[in-house]
């Protein structure tokens, strides 16, 4: 069970909003890079986010670059899951590969600051603040296995290959 507060974002949050190319020189210095997480979408995010919190977004979250640093700095900020209406393909795969759950659901009634509780195995999101409850879409099985192992690297270390 995951529990935390919702940080709300709109549609079309790109990888440049999450971690802009101008910080590419910090990509081998992850603690410094992580200080700029979501900077161009909400400059106050890095200072306010706490371990366990959620990013709640609209359509096409994470569009753009293949930079795995985007989900990586979100994970390093303590975010325990991303909830969005839709997610860009590469970002989705990258987040799961880092063991960061991305849940596809109708985020319209989840408001900024709401206390959320997520049951990953039951596929349920509860908004404790307003009492709303909703289901999130199924994650493909191969991705669930990778997520269960905490990401692609631990998965490959354990199994040595992909298992369908």
């Amino acid at each position: 069970m995951l529990r935390g507060r919702a940080f709300k974002f709109g549609d079309g949050i790109s990888t440049d909003h999450i971690i802009p190319g101008r910080y590419a020189h910090l990509r081998s210095n992850l603690p410094e890079l992580a200080k700029h997480v979501m900077e161009d979408a909400d400059p106050t995010f890095a200072a306010r986010v706490k371990a366990g919190d959620f990013i709640v977004a609209g359509n096409n979250f994470g569009l753009g670059s293949s930079r795995e640093h985007a989900p990586l700095v979100i994970k390093m900020a303590g975010v325990s899951a991303i909830l969005a209406e839709t997610v860009a393909r590469i970002f989705f795969r990258n987040a799961i590969n880092l063991g960061l759950p991305v849940l596809i659901c109708d985020t319209d009634r989840l408001d900024a600051g709401d206390e959320l509780e997520i049951d990953l195995s039951a596929g349920i999101v509860r908004d404790i603040t307003n009492g709303h409850q909703l289901n999130f879409g199924k994650i493909p099985e191969v991705m669930l296995h990778i997520l269960d192992e905490g990401g692609l690297v631990p998965y490959i270390k354990k199994y040595g290959d992909f298992r369908l």
């Binding site: 079309g12 790109s14 440049d16 909003h17 802009p20 190319g21 101008r22 590419a24 020189h25 910090l26 990509r27 081998s28 210095n29 161009d40 359509n59 096409n60 569009l63 753009g64 670059s65 293949s66 930079r67 795995e68 640093h69 989900p71 990586l72 839709t86 860009a88 393909r89 590469i90 795969r93 990258n94 590969n97 880092l98 493909p140 099985e141 191969v142 990401g151 692609l152 690297v153 490959i156 270390k157 290959d161 992909f162 369908l164």
Partner: protein, 417 residues
């Protein structure tokens, strides 16, 4: 029931009857990284416990995004990549050789290949019929070590283009128009497959421009058939043996078919800050521009240089505009010098940058100031991408870029041709 290009390639490479929606494990013919995703790939490769690359001669590290390096930290990343290449015996394409996607189509990609690259514009090689897609560092690290990865076989949108392009209208205008029509997430997880009589006649350069931007509609791949045009291109690269014809089955099943009449297209521009925010160039007249960029993996090929040169020949660019030209590879720069384009561009007032990604992603070589606007031939105009989060990026064809360089404001190229 017939197969789309994506289903055909993934069937062959997975040894199964791959159909849209299936999950398959496919062998990989080429895997690569660039200098901003490569260092993390190297670390994930080591963390995964791999020791040997499965295919060193089909594993490539490109130093192109920050080339030459603008600072110490990125220089250290370059050193890390060079050391890895030396230790593992893989190929390194160092500073000055060009943008990864251009180098991939010149020297590596083959029709029917599966290619994974740690860069979203890996889709470019779809222009010659490779199932080429962008992935993150962890996925590519595993591809380095295993030589295979999993794919969900995508559903396909067929884009049928018929008729002829009118003067001043190019492949770039077509893809901007398409993305404007279906949206920046209009093809998420899908394969875009291009066909029709206009595609048959389309140059490889135009095909690469279109395939390159498939990801800007969210697509996994942008695929073109491999035909006579492809064969000629591969011969010109000294790779005729890599040619094989590849077409979709006539009874392939498409999720959606979109028909585009080329004659109806006009010079098109994507306005800040999303690629689907398109408008005809003529409607943006009066928009002042401080920097023009001609180049990148989208439009940095010889044909693009020729179009820009044709418009700028014997004229002077506006003093208020910095006109940056970055040929996509060393080969293209040499060809542009031989054709006299570089001389003409310099005389017109342009600045020639070394082959590479140039200012496209805000690292160096033309970082935008607060409040500045840029007209670029690149593929992405996100907020803050080229520098200041308070700057503005417009995307257009090399012709629109050259016309804009002459006037200092966004200009429909037909006005100056």
């Amino acid at each position: 029931m017939g197969k789309t290009l994506a289903e055909k390639i993934l069937s062959h490479k997975s040894g199964s009857d791959a159909r849209a929606g299936d999950i398959v494990i496919a062998s990989i013919d080429l895997s690569f990284v660039q200098d901003t995703t490569g260092p993390l790939t190297v670390r994930q490769y080591q963390n995964s416990g791999f020791d040997k690359l499965v295919n060193p001669q089909r594993t490539v590290l490109f130093i192109d995004h920050a080339a030459p390096s603008p600072n110490n930290a990125l220089s250290n990343d370059h050193t890390l990549l060079r050391d890895f290449a030396r230790q593992k015996g893989c190929i390194i394409s160092d500073v000055g050789e060009g943008v990864c996607h251009q180098r991939v189509i010149e020297d590596f990609a083959r029709p029917g290949d599966v290619i994974v690259g740690a860069d979203s514009h890996t889709v470019t090689a779809g222009g010659l019929g490779s199932f080429a897609t962008g992935m993150g560092s962890s996925d590519v690290a595993v591809a380095f070590g295993l030589g295979r990865t999993w794919f969900r076989v995508p559903e396909t949108f067929k884009i049928e283009v018929s008729g002829s392009f009118t003067k001043g209208v190019y492949a770039k205008d077509l893809i901007l128009h398409l993305i404007g029509m279906i949206g920046a997430d209009g093809a998420t997880y899908k394969s875009l497959e291009f066909g029709g009589d206009a595609v048959k006649r389309m140059s490889m350069s135009g095909r690469f421009t279109i395939a390159n931007m498939a990801v800007e509609a969210g697509a996994k791949v942008g695929l073109f058939p491999s035909d006579e045009m492809t064969r000629k291109y591969l011969i010109a690269q000294g790779r005729e043996k890599d040619y094989k014809p590849l077409v979709p089955d006539t009874d392939a099943v498409y999720e959606r078919t979109i028909n585009i009449e080329a004659a109806n297209l006009v010079p098109t521009v994507a306005r800040p800050h999303t690629v689907d925010n398109t408008a005809p160039a003529r409607e943006l007249k009066g928009t002042k521009i401080q920097q023009v960029v001609i180049g990148t993996c989208t439009n940095g090929r010889l044909e693009d240089m020729a179009v820009a040169t044709g418009i700028l020949k014997g004229k002077k660019t506006q003093h208020s505009v910095r006109v940056l030209v970055a040929p996509a590879s060393r080969r293209i720069l040499l060809e542009a010098i031989e054709a006299g384009y570089v001389q003409t561009l310099l005389e017109a007032g342009a600045i020639i940058l070394p082959p590479g990604c140039g200012p496209c992603l805000g690292l160096h070589q033309g970082v935008l100031a607060d409040g500045e606007s840029c007209l670029s031939t690149a593929n992405r105009n996100f907020e803050g991408r080229m520098g200041s989060p308070k700057s503005y990026i417009y995307l257009g064809s090399p012709a629109t870029a050259a016309a804009t360089a002459l006037t200092g404001e966004i200009t429909d190229p037909r006005e100056v041709m």
